[in-house]
Symmetry: C2
Subunit: 335 residues, 2 copies
Amino acid sequence: MVDTVSDNWIFAPRIYVENVRGHDPAYEVTTEAILRNLLSVCRPAELTCRYSDERDMEALQRADILVAGRLDTALIASKAKSLKLIQCTSAGVEKYAPFDWLRASTALTNASGVHADKVGEFGLMATLMLHERVPAIATKQRHHTWTRQLRGLAAGRRVLIYGVGALGGAVAERLHATGFRITGIRRSGGSVAVVERMTTPDHFHEELSKTDILILACPLTPETRGLMGNREFAALPPGAGVLNIARGGVIDHAALASSLESGHLSGAILDVFEKEPLPTDSRLWDVPNLMVFPHVSADAPDGYVDRCLAILADNLERAKAGQPLRNEVDRQLGY
Amino acid sequence: MVDTVSDNWIFAPRIYVENVRGHDPAYEVTTEAILRNLLSVCRPAELTCRYSDERDMEALQRADILVAGRLDTALIASKAKSLKLIQCTSAGVEKYAPFDWLRASTALTNASGVHADKVGEFGLMATLMLHERVPAIATKQRHHTWTRQLRGLAAGRRVLIYGVGALGGAVAERLHATGFRITGIRRSGGSVAVVERMTTPDHFHEELSKTDILILACPLTPETRGLMGNREFAALPPGAGVLNIARGGVIDHAALASSLESGHLSGAILDVFEKEPLPTDSRLWDVPNLMVFPHVSADAPDGYVDRCLAILADNLERAKAGQPLRNEVDRQLGY
């Protein structure tokens, strides 16, 4: 948390923006975007906008605020000693854990929440697809096979969402509106309006047996790595479907492939993988009743940068008022 | 329309039910289903329930009401001369046109509307899939190809629904709730609450150019056969998607394949075909960015028969009251 309310940096910060050359321009944080979003809350004393291959080291050393999609943690630790606030334009920061590189005087905030509308739509689509058994229909199409298996209504089906944060919560809202019955699992166990029943990770195994469709939407942490293995897939009822919009490391993919090949699971939709792009020779491409999505569930380019910078603007206001920041990463929990 | 209010048949009808042996039991109209749904509105004088391969010709000749999924029109014309009402348990009756086999004294009603919830869910799913370019992602998966092409929000995209009857209207409701902008085309041009703009078939071509996703949901009639040909696909903007939940004959499939192969259309989802099951050697199985569904968009087995018989029960009440029947097929329009 930013600790001094009166600091001049909040009102006239030195801002350093780092982009990655060649990335999708929709995600580039431009000078114009900074001014458009921040001029109402501060007057930057300095604004430097560079690609990571043309760094202005002196400007970075002086900077109060760093805005970046990818963090060079070693460089930040050794050089960017004035930083009060790092706004990461990605929601997942697990690759920067442990956070021993981060000074106590520097707050790290992520882009959690900017994905809500997009992931809500994607989650609804993918859940309806799993209910309708679209992954199996797509596999059958490869073999020119017509099997008419009528499915009842999606409304009323039981969905278990592991991780009801910004992503899982947005999906839960859409599913609730479509009539799905939702159970949620989150560390705090705290209730969410659209989630019929909320419970904690220690009840995960018993919940699996009551689930038609499982949605993984948690951050990747030491606790969630390898969450779904042989035992967990077996605990799902026959015919269950699985959607992963969390991180690839949450699933043991060999166990998933077995559960699909045996016919125990009716289908799976994966949007995230341990290695992305998924290598051409990965066996996952050809596992029956498995659909591979190229990590598109949560990113809508339109307005992405503005939504990220709105978090930063909000946090400058909060810092002025001495309030806790929004989206500050907990160094222990890792998200 | 049933012409005499006082007729005894309405209160004590002779009912003949014909099922097709070997069909999905969820669609079988049983004696129990008839009694469960009709006892509150009539006391059947006779109730005969047979498969089509074991007909009771005498009972059929005496029958006032025929309930059947498939109609043997020649047999009905020559033998079932007492029929006042035929309740077809299918929504599409185009295969029985022209209706010269149907006596003026016999009303034909279809099952239009029993599919609303199911087709609403399916239509929402398929429209979200076309927006997200899932058919292209599935085609790329066959080739182990990862192409990350981020899509903006589905909300706000322009959907054109051709045929805003029971099916198209149900889809329109779901899409409206998800934020799509909907234009409808229907013969009457009459407004529907969730449809932003309603127009008539003569404006079809100009509407195509303003469409992101086209949904075909009309009955198959002489006017709609071959509705979508080379010229119409070309009139859609580059990147448009097409969903067909109407009938296969509405589309010229060679023209569709060309539009997909050239990349002009981004994808198509077909649930209906001129010949079903789609033959193993059909080229459609392998057209890029085309997903083949085995005619599942509108049928949910749970409660199907009860929803059909509720139409019949309602119509017996209407006949008693001398009111027009619901779902009566117009012999000229063919639906």
